[in-house]
């Protein structure tokens, strides 16, 4: 994804990104985050709770929501806050699409405070996760 060369403007849309989480990734993310909830790596157990396969972790959705924004924004942007709501289940292997639109751009001491509305959509376009990501957009950043 190519980062914008100047601070964005309100209403600007980020290029969408389509992806999926593999079974292996869900297992590894559970392991590294010390999350032993069986619905994330045990498909038979997940079925007992009504899920068609192992379930994408909420925190992994939060990572995705944030990371695509940061990738789009480039090195001049830094995460200030993120919030999200889980609206539907996503499971391993399911095609998902990240989308985001710049909601506000306001000046701040460091440069600009940029807020985006971001979402993860299911293949049929239904929202899986919705939220917002707030960035500090530095006017001139000198270190990574």
């Amino acid at each position: 994804m190519t980062a914008p060369t100047t601070a964005p403007i309100a209403g600007q849309t980020c290029p969408p990104h389509t992806y999926h989480h593999s079974h292996l990734q869900l297992f590894r993310f559970s392991a590294v985050s010390w999350n032993s909830h069986r619905i994330h790596y045990d498909a038979a157990f997940a079925a007992t709770e009504g899920f068609p396969d192992v379930v994408v972790q909420s925190t992994l959705h939060g990572e995705t929501l944030t990371r695509h924004v940061l990738d789009w924004a480039g090195p001049e942007a830094e995460l200030a806050s993120v919030s999200w709501r889980n609206r539907a289940t996503a499971v391993a292997g399911e095609q998902l699409t990240w989308t985001a639109t710049v909601r506000t751009v306001e000046p701040c001491d460091e440069g600009a405070r940029v807020t985006l509305d971001a979402a993860v959509l299911k293949e049929d376009g239904a929202p899986c996760v919705t939220g917002s990501v707030e960035l500090t957009w530095r006017a001139a950043r000198t270190s990574p």
Binding site: H37, H40, V82, R85
Partner: protein, 193 residues
């Protein structure tokens, strides 16, 4: 509301505002890199190891603290609930026929989270509400966690708030006549995590 959900609600309301303190330990570059690896972030790993080799501060992936479900050493398997969660990760539900999903999260970043920093967390239930929707009744627990730097890496301010996080956990009766549907008010997204 079922007796199980009544019990969850009663337990939770007694705990509202009671802050638990937890030592998250000293953060290590390896932990950061493994977390990044699980996200397929090679760039982070290369950069972090290069910074470490050069004696420069290494900052954690932005959501590392929020993404880590537990900082405990355990528990061992025999102390986990049937769904694999430890009691701490499924508050107020021990021994009850319920299940959990994660409703959502709000994370505010403070100072940089640096390798070598000892971090402590304060955590409390801040709300407990009974709700009902199209698919039935549930209890919504609000939990707030604050992460603070303690004796620290060289470039971190002692006592600085590193992150504050609000999350909601949805507690449901275990019996499920069918799979949760999209748009179900029982948020079916992630799981209690």
């Amino acid at each position: 509301m079922s007796a199980a959900l009544e019990e969850v609600l009663g337990r939770a309301r007694k705990l509202i505002g009671e802050w638990e303190h937890e030592d998250c330990g000293v953060l290590a570059v390896k932990d950061f890199c493994r977390y990044a690896a699980s996200l397929n972030d090679d760039d982070y790993i290369r950069r972090a190891r290069a910074q470490e080799a050069a004696g420069e501060p290494v900052v954690a992936p932005p959501l590392f603290l929020a993404g880590t479900l537990s900082w405990q050493d355990g528990p061992t398997e025999d102390a986990l609930q049937r769904d694999g969660l430890a009691a701490r990760e499924a508050p107020c539900t021990d021994g009850l026929p319920v299940r959990h999903v994660h409703g959502g999260q709000s994370v505010r970043l403070g100072g940089p989270v640096l390798a070598g920093t000892r971090v402590t967390a304060e955590r409390a239930i801040t709300s407990a509400d009974h709700r009902s929707g199209r698919s039935g009744e549930f209890v919504l627990l609000g939990i707030t966690t604050r992460f603070t730097a303690q004796d620290t890496a060289e470039d971190t301010v002692d006592g600085a708030e590193l992150m504050a996080m609000d999350e909601t956990i949805v507690v449901l009766d275990l019996d499920l006549p069918d799979a949760p549907a999209e748009g179900d008010p029982r948020p079916a997204g992630g799981a209690a995590a």
